[in-house]
């Protein structure tokens, strides 16, 4: 968290983008993209999350490297939980 005071116009811009992405993700779900529906939905969700983290939570403007390390580590640990568990589920009924 820095002392950088951002313009309210900037926040409003991010807000509009987030709302647009919400509408887009809902609308795209009605279009048949096969297996890409899930991927598109998750990508859009991740973009929205990044906008909130970087701009609303000020992570883009913080000088603290430790904050970024904490965020990346937490996400990595979550992926570890999901990934290593799926190593079991994805290979359970192979033979």
């Amino acid at each position: 968290m820095s002392e950088h005071v951002m313009s309210s116009k900037f926040y409003y811009t991010i807000w509009i983008v987030l709302l647009c992405l919400t509408v887009i993700t809902a609308a795209v779900s009605f279009v048949d993209l096969g297996p890409f529906n899930t991927i598109v939905a998750l990508v859009i969700a991740t973009v929205k999350a990044l906008l909130v983290i970087l701009f609303f939570m000020h992570v883009k403007y913080t000088s603290e490297r430790l904050t970024k390390i904490v965020i990346v580590s937490a996400i990595f640990w979550l992926l570890l939980l999901l990934g290593l568990s799926m190593a079991d589920y994805a290979t359970r009924f192979l033979s």
Partner: protein, 233 residues
């Protein structure tokens, strides 16, 4: 009474006694809240694993369950939370600029959006109750089976989707309620003039928490509501 130099200084809330200076205190609070949010990621993460496993196993039932949710209410709720994140971010900015009145208004608006979200969520849950989609003895997936004859739906597996739906949205709602409580506390102190450009750390870290709860919903929305809305053949 010891006359060590340490014991004699007086400090305001921005510089508690055990810290070397206000900056150390601010940095500590910020790191503390980010670490707490990391624990929250792992906390929700357990349910995301359950979701991942069962969606992998029971895709049809997840798709049917997802379709039975009201997409308009879900989208509106997502928008409500995004608006609340905006008011939170603007609120932090108001605190940075020392604008007490604006800060209080924005905090109150955030609380209003929070209640709106919870209200809509309550309506959705009630809908599920009426449709007999609450897991347990009264559960009945007959409506879904009838609606989607082209895919095979096991009513027992369908209960797993709804169990996760209620667990995930329920826990999220609980975090919203706690968030609203925190913001009531912040609003009261803001109104009393406790926050200044020099000291508004509680607003910042309360804001971080609120944004986190928003981000969880940003993921819950597509995962629960948008699994498969393709037109049926």
């Amino acid at each position: 009474m010891s006359d060590s130099p340490i014991a004699v200084e007086q400090h305001g809330p921005e510089h508690l006694h055990h810290f070397a200076d206000a900056e150390q205190q601010r940095d500590a609070a910020s790191l503390g809240m980010w670490l707490f949010l990391a624990t929250e990621i792992m906390f929700f993460g357990g349910m995301f694993l359950a979701y991942l496993v069962y969606r992998y196993w029971y895709y049809n039932e997840f798709a049917a369950g997802s379709r039975s949710l009201d997409i308009s209410l879900g989208t509106i709720n997502t928008a409500v939370l995004i608006c609340s994140s905006l008011t939170v971010a603007l609120g932090v900015r108001a605190a940075q600029m020392g604008n007490r009145k604006l800060l209080v208004i924005l905090l109150l608006l955030t609380i209003v959006f929070g209640f709106a979200f919870l209200g809509i969520k309550g309506v959705e849950w009630y809908q599920k109750f009426e449709e007999h989609h609450i897991p347990g003895r009264s559960f009945n997936a007959g409506d879904l089976i009838k609606e989607y004859p082209q895919i095979h739906i096991d009513p027992q597996h369908e209960q797993i989707y709804f169990s996760l739906y209620f667990a995930m949205t329920g826990l999220h709602a609980l975090h919203m309620i706690i968030g609203v409580g925190i913001f009531v506390f912040l609003t009261y102190h803001a109104w009393k003039g406790r926050y200044t450009p020099k000291y508004h750390t509680p607003i910042e870290i309360g804001g971080l928490y609120w944004h986190f709860v928003d981000i969880v919903w940003i993921y819950l929305f597509p995962l629960l509501y948008l699994i498969d809305r393709k037109p049926l053949r």
